[in-house]
Subunit: 343 residues, 2 copies
């Protein structure tokens, strides 16, 4: 099925109106949680609302909830709160990630660090994560709070592991996937798992859905990393080439360095070496184009695309813990759409 | 009573051995919570442990718990967990504050941002706050989790309000205290309040103890701000003069600017203006000495010391919700000791 057909079928799903209403509910809860009595805080929060994109993580919660529902009612209060909490967590990581990446553009607009300085971005990220836990603690369910905090522990570990490997040009695939599983995939996995648990499903279904979400998360990150290397800034909507600038090796480059012939290896390393020495901290457009050509010619881009595709196949296979339903079909389509970065 | 006599009397208290044991328990729980399977994370955590100072906030929890205890047993598991959670929260704020202040020294050692870069400091702070919530959620008590998250919301608001007022040389006292109450005093207040609630005390005692902790927190921050302006770096153990460098007005300077004669006002503003323009982002020793002399001569230092002293008097008065006990006496002595920065 082509991506276009899949998109159309996603629109046609009987649960689409239900999902639209549920996502509006998440947006309302999100806004209600983030209201301050301080005008200076509210001004920052207004800016943050523009960061909201396709809401992949709330969708993972809500559609998983629907797929696990015995009846076809609306998501429970707890599931809606959970969907809002994971979006708050995600938003906090975006704000702090932009500091780490010294990024200036996010979803086509200025980043908080660019607009108001790193200090404000640090504190605004803290404010968002604090509100995530605050909202989560409104649920009368300590297991959910524990699980969310356990996940944010892992997300931070993934980020710290990545930082510890900056400018490590011999980073291997195993370490890359360890980083990705922690910093990105664990939150996606837990979205689906907790939705299942709140839906009263047993460990088998919850574990299956964790695997689905985790694999979707890995695929998402591979595609995100690919776009940073070979994407078009205007389409992607954020500063590109930051991974190389900041010494972060991602899958295509790892594969290139470990398989390319000597000339091609040396050419890549020469540019990567410059990224560390360059006082501007930013590679030129020409240098990025050269990297682009190297990883395309050596087949490293195809290799990373294949990896992401395999993750999507595995994610969809993990859905077999669920009975057939329109919601399960939507989860399946969502996995496919990650490849085209519709999320 | 002289400070020396107070210190001696603190040592003599019958609860001192009890408190020492309880604080060792907090340290053990702190270390147990912060164990990672990643060596790169553990190396950072080892460095962080050196930040632990007098543990003011865990002490506030534990001694409040003792003062509220009907029997004189050891603190409950929940009270010990709470004492560890507030230290984790505090440690996270220290790591992020050092980024905001571009500080290089903390408790006589290098800061994480100086040692490993701002990016790592952002993530390590996030890791610490995540573990604070994680540990808190191990308690079967949603009200505590909610209250801690509500407090961290307020702490972040205080920091954001302070950042929004950088280089605002007409910041008034009321706004200064609003910042201090949120960013520092709210956590101290909640330490005492929650210890009382966990000790089964009613709203009257819990509110009284919140007031005690809040006033202690305000006094602590006034003294901290004073030391940044007129302290000695080797004694204080951290980079000084950062408030002025970063455009943060504190009580002595606010008072000076609002009361000094024109010559003295202009002299202060000239130096403050330079702090914004100076490309090094740091005032010279001579400039700091001049500020020091100005605020001393105008009586602004005495004014701030008086404010802190009044806060301590009010903190001690708030303790009257409690019956007389050795633990209540220790709380009273702790308030006095904040003035001499033994905490």
């Amino acid at each position: 099925m082509s991506i276009q057909t899949q998109l159309a079928s996603l629109q046609d799903q009987t649960i689409e109106p239900w999902l639209t209403t549920a996502l509006e509910g998440v947006e309302a809860r999100f806004a209600a949680e983030l209201t301050s009595d301080l005008p200076c805080v509210n001004r920052l929060l207004e800016h943050i609302e523009r960061y909201q994109g396709k809401m992949l993580r709330p969708r993972l919660v809500l559609v998983s909830a629907m797929a696990c529902s015995q009846a076809s009612g609306k998501p429970s209060n707890a599931q809606q709160v959970l969907a809002t909490v994971v979006e708050l967590v995600h938003m906090a990581t975006l704000v702090h990630d932009d500091i780490l990446d010294e990024a200036h553009i996010r979803r086509g607009g200025d980043t908080i660090n660019y607009l108001a300085g790193n200090e404000t971005a640090v504190m605004l990220g803290d404010y968002l994560i604090s509100h995530a836990y605050h909202l989560c603690s409104s649920l009368d369910n300590m297991a959910i709070s524990r699980s969310i905090a356990d996940t944010t522990n892992r997300v931070c570990e993934g980020e710290l592991l990545q930082l510890a490997n900056r400018f490590n040009w011999s980073l291997d695939e195993q370490s890359y996937f360890e980083i990705v599983r922690r910093k990105t995939a664990s939150l996606c996995g837990v979205c689906c798992q907790l939705a299942a648990e709140l839906g009263g499903r047993g460990a088998g279904v919850a574990e299956g859905l964790y695997e689905y979400g985790e694999k979707v998360g890995v695929a998402f990150q591979i595609v995100d990393d690919l776009l940073d290397l070979v994407g078009v800034e205007r389409t992607v909507g954020k500063t590109l080439g930051r991974d190389v600038d900041k010494g972060k090796l991602t899958l295509p480059l790892i594969h290139h360095l470990s398989t390319a012939d000597k000339a091609s290896y040396d050419a890549a390393l020469l540019i990567l070496g410059k990224s560390k020495d360059d006082s501007s901290g930013q590679l030129s457009r020409d240098q990025l184009d050269e990297i682009h050509k190297l990883v395309t010619d050596s087949g490293a881009v195809d290799y990373a695309v294949d990896w992401a595709s395999r993750m999507v196949v595995q994610a969809k296979a993990a859905l077999e813990v669920l009975p057939q339903s329109p919601a399960r079909n939507v989860l399946s389509s969502m996995a496919d759409l990650v490849l085209t970065r519709k999320f």
